[in-house]
C-alpha cells in the first residue's frame, strides 16, 4: 500500500529529488546487513550476526568431503547433516564455540528391514525420545529408527485417490511433532504436506498453498477446447520447499518460485505458519509482507523475488528465512516486522554459493551450503544480542528492561525502526504516554500512537476538567449575559420614568 502511495507521490510530483534518492538506495545495498525502513528504503545497519567459522568436512575431521548435502537438523548440541551425495548421515557434536567432535557417521541401519543401506537421505529429524526419522529419498520411504539405529517403522507412499499407486515416493523434507506424527514434503505431490500418524498410517494432506491464477488465463481456459485445455498449464498449488516445526508445534512452511505479482498482491505467501488444521496463521503486521527483498531488480546476475529455501524459528518466535536466490538471511519477528537482512552470494565468509538449509542453536545460526559443502556458523553481535534481549524481555513482561535494551540498540543504530517502536511500547506499558507518542510518531506507528494518545487525552481531560467546565460555561453564559444586559439597558432607555 505504502509502496503505491510513494509511487503516486513520485508520479504526481515527478521530482528529480526522488530520482537521486533512489540512486542512493541502490548504492546503499552494498552494506552486509541492512533493514527496510517505513518507506521501504534500504537502511544500512550494524551487523546483527558475525561469522564464527565456515566448516567443511575437513575442518570437522572427516575423511571424505561432503557431497551435495541437502538437510540438517540440530538438537541441543548435536548437528545431524544429511550428506546426500555420499548416502550417509554425519552426526557432529559442538563441544565449544569453535570445537567440534564427530559423534557418529552412518550409512546404514539395522534390524527388521530388507533395505538397510541409506540412499540419498535428504532430511533428518530427531524426536525428544531420541528416535531418528530419516527421509530416505532413494529408497522411497521415511524410516524411523531408535537412537541405536534399529529399524522401528517406515512411512510409504500416501494411500490416497489423488496419488497414483505406481508413482515413486520421493520424500524430501520432514518434520515430526511431539506426538510422533510425521509431516513430509514429497516431490511431485502438491496437495500440501503428507501427514502420517505415529503408527505409520497416512492420514491426509494438510496446508496446501492457495492456488493463484491469472484472470486472462482463466478466461482463455474457459474458451478453449478440451484438447487445447489439456496442453495448457494447469492451476495447481505450489509445492513447499521446506518446513520447520517450532517449539509450540506450529509448522512454518516456505515456498519459493512465486510469481512477482502474486507476492505483491498478497495472493501468494513466501512463508506460512500452519496450525493443526493446516490454516495459515502467520501474523503479517509488518509494513511489508515477509517475502525477503522488496526490490527485485536485476543485478549481479540475480533477478526476481527472494526464494526461501528454508526457515528456522527461535524460541523468541523470531523466524529466519534463507533466500537461495541472493544468498541472504531474513529475520522477522512474531508480528512480521523485519528484524534483519544480511548475506549475499560469494566465496567470502558469510556469503554463500547455494545455501540449502538453516538451523539454529540457541541464538546461533547454522547455514548449510550444498555447493560449497560447508556449514557457516553465525553468532549474534552485541547489536544482535541487544535486539534479542529487548524482544525477550518484553515478551517476559519486563518492559523497563526491554526499553533500556532498545535504547542501547537505538544508540548503535539510529535508523533501526523497531527500536523506536520498542521504546515506545515499553514507555506505553510504563504509562508514560506523552513520551511514547513521540517515539511512535517518529516511525509512523499509528495504532500504538493512537493507544498512547487515547490514554494521554483521557488523563489530560481528567486533569483539566475544571477549566474545561468553566470554559464551556463561559461560552454559554457570557453571550447570554451580554444579551441580558443589553435588553435591560434598552428597557431603561425607553422607560417612561427617565424621560424628561
Amino acid at each position: 500500500m505504502k509502496k503505491i502511495i510513494r509511487l503516486i507521490g513520485a508520479l504526481t510530483l515527478g521530482t528529480v529529488v526522488l530520482a537521486t534518492s533512489s540512486l542512493g538506495v541502490l548504492a546503499a545495498e552494498k552494506s552486509y546487513t541492512y533493514n527496510y525502513d517505513y518507506w521501504g528504503d534500504v537502511q544500512d545497519s550494524p551487523d546483527v550476526y558475525t561469522v564464527t567459522g565456515v566448516y567443511t568436512a575437513e575442518a570437522f575431521g572427516l575423511d571424505i568431503n561432503f557431497r551435495n548435502p541437502q538437510g540438517m537438523f540440530v538438537k541441543d548440541n548435536m548437528i545431524y547433516i544429511c550428506d546426500t551425495g555420499n548416502n550417509r548421515i554425519v552426526q557432529i557434536e559442538r563441544i565449544g564455540t569453535k570445537q567440534f567432535e564427530v559423534a557418529r557417521i552412518f550409512d546404514s541401519i539395522q534390524g527388521d528391514t530388507d533395505v538397510k543401506n541409506l540412499s540419498g537421505p535428504t532430511d533428518i529429524a530427531v524426536s525428544e525420545e531420541g528416535d531418528i526419522f530419516i527421509s530416505d529419498n532413494g529408497n522411497a520411504r521415511i524410516v524411523k529408527v531408535d537412537s541405536d539405529l534399529n529399524y522401528l517403522l517406515q512411512f510409504n507412499l500416501p494411500v490416497d485417490s489423488t496419488v497414483s499407486p505406481d508413482s515413486t515416493f520421493q520424500p524430501s523434507k520432514i518434520v515430526i511433532d511431539t506426538a510422533g506424527r510425521v509431516y513430509c514434503i514429497a516431490t511431485s505431490i502438491n496437495q500440501g504436506l503428507c501427514k502420517y500418524e505415529a503408527d505409520g498410517t497416512f492420514s491426509g494432506f494438510v496446508g496446501a498453498t492457495r492456488v493463484t491464477f491469472d484472470w486472462m488465463d482463466y478466461i482463455w481456459k474457459k474458451l478453449a477446447t478440451q484438447e487445447q485445455r489439456a496442453r495448457m498449464v494447469s492451476f495447481v498449488p505450489t509445492a513447499y520447499d521446506n518446513i520447520y516445526i517450532d517449539h509450540e508445534g506450529f509448522i512454518y512452511a516456505c515456498a519459493g518460485g512465486m510469481e512477482e505479482k502474486d507476492l505483491d498482491s498478497g495472493a501468494a505467501a513466501a512463508i506460512r505458519k500452519l496450525n493443526l488444521m493446516g490454516n495459515d496463521i502467520l501474523v503479517q503486521n509488518g509494513e511489508y509482507p515477509a517475502y525477503g527483498d522488496l526490490y527485485w531488480g536485476k543485478g549481479g546476475g540475480y533477478e526476481g523475488p527472494s526464494y526461501f529455501t528454508d526457515v528456522t524459528v527461535f524460541e523468541n518466535d523470531i523466524y529466519v528465512c534463507l533466500d537461495k536466490n541472493r544468498g541472504r538471511l531474513f529475520g522477522y519477528d512474531d508480528q512480521g516486522n523485519t528484524v534483519f537482512c544480511f548475506g549475499g552470494n560469494g566465496n567470502m565468509d558469510g556469503y554463500f554459493r547455494q545455501p540449502a538449509a538453516i538451523e539454529h542453536m540457541g541464538h546461533d545460526l547454522l547455514v548449510l551450503d550444498t555447493l560449497d559443502c560447508s556449514i557457516t556458523f553465525f553468532t549474534p553481535t552485541e547489536f544482535g544480542s541487544l535486539i534479542y534481549s529487548a524482544i525477550e524481555d518484553f515478551d517476559a513482561g519486563d518492559y523497563e528492561k526491554s526499553g533500556e535494551s532498545w535504547k542501547k540498540v537505538m544508540a548503535l543504530d539510529g535508523n533501526y525502526d523497531l527500536a523506536y517502536i520498542g521504546i515506545g511500547r515499553s514507555l506505553l506499558r510504563q504509562k508514560q504516554y506523552r513520551e511514547a507518542m513521540d517515539y511512535f510518531e517518529l516511525k509512523y506507528d499509528e495504532d500504538n500512537y493512537s493507544r498512547a494518545y487515547k490514554q494521554y487525552r483521557k488523563e489530560w481531560v481528567e486533569e483539566h476538567i475544571v477549566v474545561i467546565v468553566i470554559v464551556i460555561l463561559a461560552a454559554f453564559l457570557i453571550p447570554l449575559s451580554i444579551g441580558k444586559v443589553k435588553s435591560i439597558r434598552h428597557e431603561i432607555d425607553i422607560a417612561d420614568i427617565f424621560r424628561a
Binding site: 510530483l13 515527478g14 517505513y38 510518531e441 500512537y449 494518545y453 487515547k454
Partner: protein
Amino acid sequence: MIAALKNKNTYLKYIDSLRFALYCITHPLDGFWDLTHERRGTYAAANTILFLSLLVRVMKLRYTSFVFMRVYWEGINIFLYVASVAFPLAMFVVGNWGLTTLFDGKGRLGQVYMASCYAMTPYPLIQFPLMVFSNFVTVDEAEFYSVLSMLSLLWAAMLFIAAMGQIHEFGFAKNILFMFASLFAMLVIVFILLLFFSMISQGVAYFISMGKEIMFRL
C-alpha cells in the same frame, strides 16, 4: 492605482466580496449569478481564496497528524506541489473559456477564473480546521476526518458545476456536457504543450550540436 489604494471604499468592497464567497457556497445558483451579473465578486478576493487554498494544501503536509498523512519528504518539491493544483486550474479556466466562448457561453476569461476560485472556498474553510482537528483524534475516530475531508471536495466540485452554469447562462444538461468537454480540452492542452516542449528541445538541441560541431572544426 495608488489613489485606489488610498480610497477606503476599495477595502470595503474587497471585504464585502470576500464575505460574498460565504454566500456563494451556501446559495450557489443565486450567488454565482450575482457574482458576475451584479458585480459582487472581485479579483482580489478570488486571488485571496486561491492563495489560501494553496497555502492550506501546503500546510497540510506538515501539520496534519501522521495518522492521516505521511509525507515522504525526500519526494516533495514545494513548487511542483503547488503547481499540481494551480496548473490544472489554469488549464481548466483556459480550456473552459475557449470552448464555451464558441458555444454561446456568456462568461469572459476573467469571470471563469473568478468563479472557479470562489468555488474553491469550501476547501480552505473545511480543510484548515480539519488539519487542526486531525491532531486530536485516534485511528478509531479517523472516519470523521475522511468523511469531512471528502465532503469539502464534493462540495467544491458541486460549486464548480453550479458556478460554470451560472456565469455562462447554461442549462443543466448543457452545463454538464461542457464540464466534460472542458476536461477533454485540458487533455488537448497537455498534449499540445508536450508536443511544443519536445519540439522546442529538439530544435534547441539541433542548434547546440551544430554550434558544437562548428567550434570543433574551427
